[in-house]
Symmetry: D2
Subunit: 483 residues, 4 copies
């Protein structure tokens, strides 16, 4: 069955023009005027944009003996309700666990997804086995990104040696490392110090993770990636010290990408001062929310290109789960939701204010990450042949965000009460209407795994440059005898 989106204005990362779109077999079959098909979707007064891609989610994530509440079903339902048509989740092997075995577990969980998805593989320990399996992951499993945690000491954290080894392996394989950049040693010490001082409330979570602790780790990861001859992607960049490290690296020609979260763009650290323990605890995530001046920096980075992608780090815990940390903030599960709200919020605060053009909105919600992940133009584009992952966006539609009407399984929403203008009228996932006016039509299992090829252009160019500038041995005759 074919479908036509009629009467809309197509907005991509670099074009804005009126045109119809014909969809056949889940792909864009034609772009032009007066197209006809079996079914017609009216897009009058709407923008038609590539569906959003959220490269940073944690569905049903194991954490401190519990699991994040949104699984691949409720999580991806939230996604499509909000205009996002693909998520990339993190496969997290336990220390000493085989990467392949962990991937199997994630494969199982993801079968419920209602929209397309992919995985980043986390490197949470190091061994010859990990070294070997990385090759399989890249060459056989369609994964070209490896996540590294510089925080969560005693759990997911890897040290500099392990990062250097893994980054170097990424370089060989044409893959890209990702990092969660916070100095885990320092966070752990600050946590103990704060608890010892009686600072056990959720605000101490923020105190234990100052901006410079993030900036430091970011700076360190960049150096190691440079030494390992590989591009780098920094997840959840929340503050100017981290952003500054990225800007400085890029100004020196390094290939570094940065991803702010919608939460850090909209919310600030005053939330943790809220007199209601639950209110504050629900907003506990890492890195924590920052002050207004950091927000301004992140917005400027999106407009100027020093930051490329807006994600959510969607990792939803219920209030009851959050209360595991009453009396000890270090036991509050880290994470917030955001998948359903990312695009309306970014549109409202970005395009609605002129901080971003509509094209930049598409770039940072979809196209840039598709390129970085090497799945462009299958995803992130409106081109003939591309997957029909599309959102028909009504720039005049408004709503007030509330947990009452959300797809996410949790009992609150950190954006509760914020009014957004600009909402998806239709979300299409490979040509199927996945959501309409906020009602999710997509079904469990509608989503497919999206494999990603290694060696994107940036990796190839960087390798060439590194080869040309590599250390050269000085030729000497008459070297003395050694001692």
């Amino acid at each position: 069955m074919s479908m036509v989106i009629r009467g809309g204005t197509i907005v991509t990362a670099d074009l804005t023009y009126k045109s119809d779109i014909l969809i056949e077999d889940g792909k864009i079959a034609a772009i032009g005027d007066n197209l006809t098909g079996d079914k017609v979707i009216e897009a009058d007064g709407c923008y038609v944009m590539p569906g959003g891609i959220d490269p940073h989610t944690h569905m049903e994530m194991p954490f401190m003996g519990t699991y994040s509440e949104d699984d691949f079903e409720s999580g991806t339902k939230a996604a499509v309700a909000g205009g996002t048509t693909m998520v990339v989740d993190f496969c997290l092997p336990a220390p000493n666990q085989s990467l392949l075995e962990a991937l199997q577990a994630w494969d199982n969980k993801s079968s419920k997804a209602v929209c397309d998805y992919s995985f980043h593989m986390a490197v949470t320990w190091w061994s010859e086995q990990v070294f070997d399996e990385m090759k399989t992951i890249v060459q056989e499993k369609g994964i070209n990104t490896f996540k590294h945690f510089m925080a969560y000491k005693g759990a997911l954290m890897v040290d500099d040696d392990e990062m250097f080894a893994s980054f170097s392996r990424c370089s060989e394989l044409g893959a890209m490392p990702l990092v969660h950049a916070e100095n885990g040693d320092v966070v752990a010490t600050l946590q103990q110090k704060l608890l010892a001082e009686g600072n056990n409330g959720p605000e101490a979570h923020a105190y234990s993770r100052p901006v410079d602790v993030e900036g430091e780790a970011c700076n360190r990861a960049i150096m190691i990636a440079d030494m390992a001859n590989v591009p780098l992607y920094i997840v959840h960049v929340s503050c100017e010290p981290a952003h500054e490290a990225i800007r400085r690296a890029r100004a020196n020609g390094k290939r570094v990408f940065g991803e702010p979260l919608i939460q850090h763009l909209i919310l600030d650290d005053s939330e943790y001062k809220n007199a209601d323990w639950d209110h504050a605890a629900r907003r506990v995530m890492s890195p924590p929310f920052r002050s207004k001046e950091h927000q301004d920096g992140l917005w400027n980075g999106l407009a100027s290109g020093s930051l490329q992608v807006v994600a959510t780090d969607h990792c939803a815990f219920t209030t009851e789960q959050k209360r595991m940390g009453v009396g000890d903030f270090t036991k509050i599960p880290n994470g917030t939701g955001g998948l359903e709200d990312r695009m309306p919020l970014l549109w409202t605060y970005g395009v609605g204010t002129g901080r971003l053009t509509p094209n930049e909105f598409v770039a940072v919600t979809s196209t840039n990450i598709a390129k970085i992940l090497n799945i462009y133009p299958r995803k992130g584009a409106i081109l003939v042949g591309a997957d029909a992952d599309l959102v028909v966006w009504d720039p005049k539609a408004s709503k007030t965000i509330t947990a009452k009407h959300q797809q996410s399984a949790i009992d609150y929403n950190v954006f509760e009460g914020i009014e957004v203008t600009g909402l998806p009228r239709y979300t299409l996932s490979r040509g199927r209407i996945a959501a309409e006016e906020g009602v999710v039509l997509a079904k469990c299992g509608d989503g497919e795994f999206i494999a990603r090829e290694p060696y994107p252009a940036v990796n190839k160019a960087l390798s060439k440059w590194k080869e040309i500038t590599s250390p050269r041995k000085v030729e000497r005759s008459g070297i003395p005898a050694g001692v």
Copy 2:
């Protein structure tokens, strides 16, 4: 007559894929496999890219009682020979001359062009007439960019007041100001000081225009554009102080673009120390060549996005013309050639080393400026419906640059002796073969003027943001009586 480009790999600013291209009526009619047409061009082993756009040329430019030697014929022949299919020249009204009258003169000269072209209008003086004519220029003449010279005191230079007025006018009209950023007062004083000290050789040209003199003007223009609520484009960014000002502005969310020249990317200031006066004088341009570390900065800016466009400032004077400045470097006509060599040089030193990906090459030679000038995707794109301005690029073809075989009318080439790898096999201008293996087939008058619409997306977004953040009056009751 239709034409097919067969067997090549299409490279655009964001895609690389094998496909044929069908051209009809000067436009791209289809992109796909196994296309057929009346004529076939073989592109095996070649990249097919958007033709280059050089947004900074001066053909037959009046200067100190003479004219730059390349007119629109020889100049655009050099362009197409080197893979460039569109140039933007600067219409330069004399002080007190009507903009419209000056435009008529440029229209006349440009009728000889063998490829498409457009104009930037220079604001070289200020009055109500200029204010009024700017509207006509934008709304009736298809020009959305206005150039301002902060140097050339006593001739083209405008002061801060005039810039502010003109930039504000640009803001109203949805146009964009351009600046030549050097502090003209300081240059003039340094020139006199150097001459007084006996420094009259071509190297003194460089001494009279230090990097900080450019950086200062760049910083000042950025501030004025910000106050005038308008984006800004800095031509011929040659050094780190200027680049740093741009980076700093962008990091603060300002909409500023920067254009390095191929000359500054490849050549350095040691050229002025050459014992041959002619050698040094031929390389006199403003800003002058800089030291190696500034070059590195420019390359890094292209890769990281703080600089967007590579141009030439093609303004070719013969050795004889240059000799007007024997004994007084201030009389050496400012300018060098580069149109024919820009793309092969950038490919060789950029893509050939891994400093740029092939896609970034397309972006900085064509696509980015097409977007900035608001003529994308008619130009700068390989999309159905776009003008068939294309270059079939042979990445293996080599040559040594020499004035002997160049299209330019002058008697030397500042890149003489440099070997380049990567050359156009065919250059197509609106579907016609304009050059083949360096032989120019295009004819006088084949080129057309390309009109450009105002209010690109960046202007609109910036205006919205400026409106939202504009000063708000404090409401007061009980204001005391004045004195």
Copy 3:
């Protein structure tokens, strides 16, 4: 008559130690234990520090047909009451007025001073006469600093050419230029725009002088000083763009000094939003107060050494004078008081919080500027032979600042209601008790003019470096014949 200060702890820019001080003939005659003299001042529990030097005051300054209310009597009484024992005022020739003639007028006014003083000479226009008189000013009149206004268009403002000429003249004479750094063209245009939009209240004064307008001018002055081979001193640095320009210059080895005001360190721009017109208008000065983040930057600059001096720009207008600007903010006389409060405020907010050490307090209130002005160690030091300009500082004494008890002749105080801890018990001016517990004992005419020699060490070093790195002519044979 000799005097001994007994029992105190001497605090200088680099030492803290308990010792008595013997004073004879207005000078420090001995420093040691158990000194005896005709009179004894008890300093138990007190710090004994060099008296403050305020290098930026405007006594009885002509402005828009009126005069600032504090003359050299009330102004210097405010100084000594607050622990300051020397002020440097600005001699402001009218355009076309002889510098020497203007100096005569300032000499006349200053005869009332109760403590020592000196003058900066302003260069408000340019001519051969000014060029010639600068030599006399330096060599015969004991003035080694020349002030330049980049703002106040149509009145005091000079343009880049004039600045370059005057800075070069300073270089020759071993003098140092000072600048008021705001882009006067832009300020004037913004003023007209704001008035046209109905923004006529005092808050529009701040709107008309954005931080980047100051930053730009600061950056420009730095470049011009560098080209003129002379150190530079930026008065009233109020914001990060200006401070950043200074930091960047210093990081590049330039000899640039920056002076924040106590007002900008303590007060912020929310003052202009006050519903009371008088409240806001009383705080109108240029540059205006800035937001909190700029304050933090200034404090950090004092601690790290990128800023060297804290001044007041004391220029006090009465409420009635301020009301000249009702209905038109551009007519509000620019200026606030601060002389009496500078040192207690800086102590309270600086030393009291640990942002500054006591030694740094002395450095930024006295010693640094004495060195910069080349009057160290006569002033700014506690050394045998130095002038006995001293303050006996009681770090435990407190008061609440209020206009009711101030020395200044005006009817309000912009710091009204702020509690300070740390006050002068005694202020000694050349060995005389000028103030005791806030009661001024000094008399009209007690003050003397302090002559200052040219060619401080920094000027000499810079001249040597500039000579070594000056442009060198390329020697060529066979230069072609000119055209």
Copy 4:
């Protein structure tokens, strides 16, 4: 016996004036005109300055089974021959060795010193014992500085946790941490990679320690010190990435000091390309020499105050010792000499060119470090009561540096052949002539240990600020029950 230095010009960190100096009992007894004493030293045409302090030496240092060749005798003889009157050496406990036991060993070695000395204690491992002994070291042993190696993996290196613990301990004790800032993990990996690639020559030593590896560690140490509420001193800052991290920290109000070495100011990395293996190997030290642009940065930092101290890291190995690394650069002992040459070189290249004033020369060779180490004004000053550690400096005296005439025990000099202008005529150590015209008169054991008190002003101020800005618990009622 008293002594008078007659006819010289005293130059201190902030004063330049003609005066005689009277010395009694090893201390300055008087400063004034026409002083008389038992013995007279003529200083006509000379500057009299505080003797140099080199805070970074390694005498008889155990390293890879050997010892650095200069012991406290030959090393301090080199010092006084070159105008330096005090050195601070590093006491290096082996892992698991008691700090007190190690100190005993250093005490033993230092008994041979011909001039005064002090120690930094290194923290090379961590335990409750170390924690406890640090208190004894500070409170009983006169040491207020603790060194931390971020490099030398498997030997001296400590990790972030250990640094944080030790820095926090320093904060409590009023001491200051020092760091050798290079990422040891990365260095170790690069070493192995280079050796595996056949890069085994001395140039590979430089390749294995890129500038960003130093910059990263510097940045990390700064963050940890900030979290631990303590000032920080970075030894041997060699490059812009490290310097930039320091500048950035200082611009944010952090109390960070930086120490470039005379080697890095004068020599560059082209030395490692020398065809003579011995030549290159003799220059192997960590960090290695850098390129010219880094040198410029260091010089600018000294002039602008972002760097405070010039040291040598004197650690002299013979050519034979160096040859332990033939065939494997990682086995070349790290270190070069410099003690005798530091002051003449810095005078020649700094004061002689105008990059530094004479006062700045004194500041960076003596006074600043005396203040930082909290031994000012006993050392680093010319004040009555200060130790008579003085150098009578002849600014016209010249020599060519050569190993033939040096005090150091090794067989070469990395500055061989450089001509210096500006040499000590006399060096006085506590009033005794320690060297005269290069001839050392001081004897073994003339030197004494200089104890240093904790809690300098900067520590106290920082602690106050950190207390004021420390995290505050949010008071909440109605906290929910935990899970």
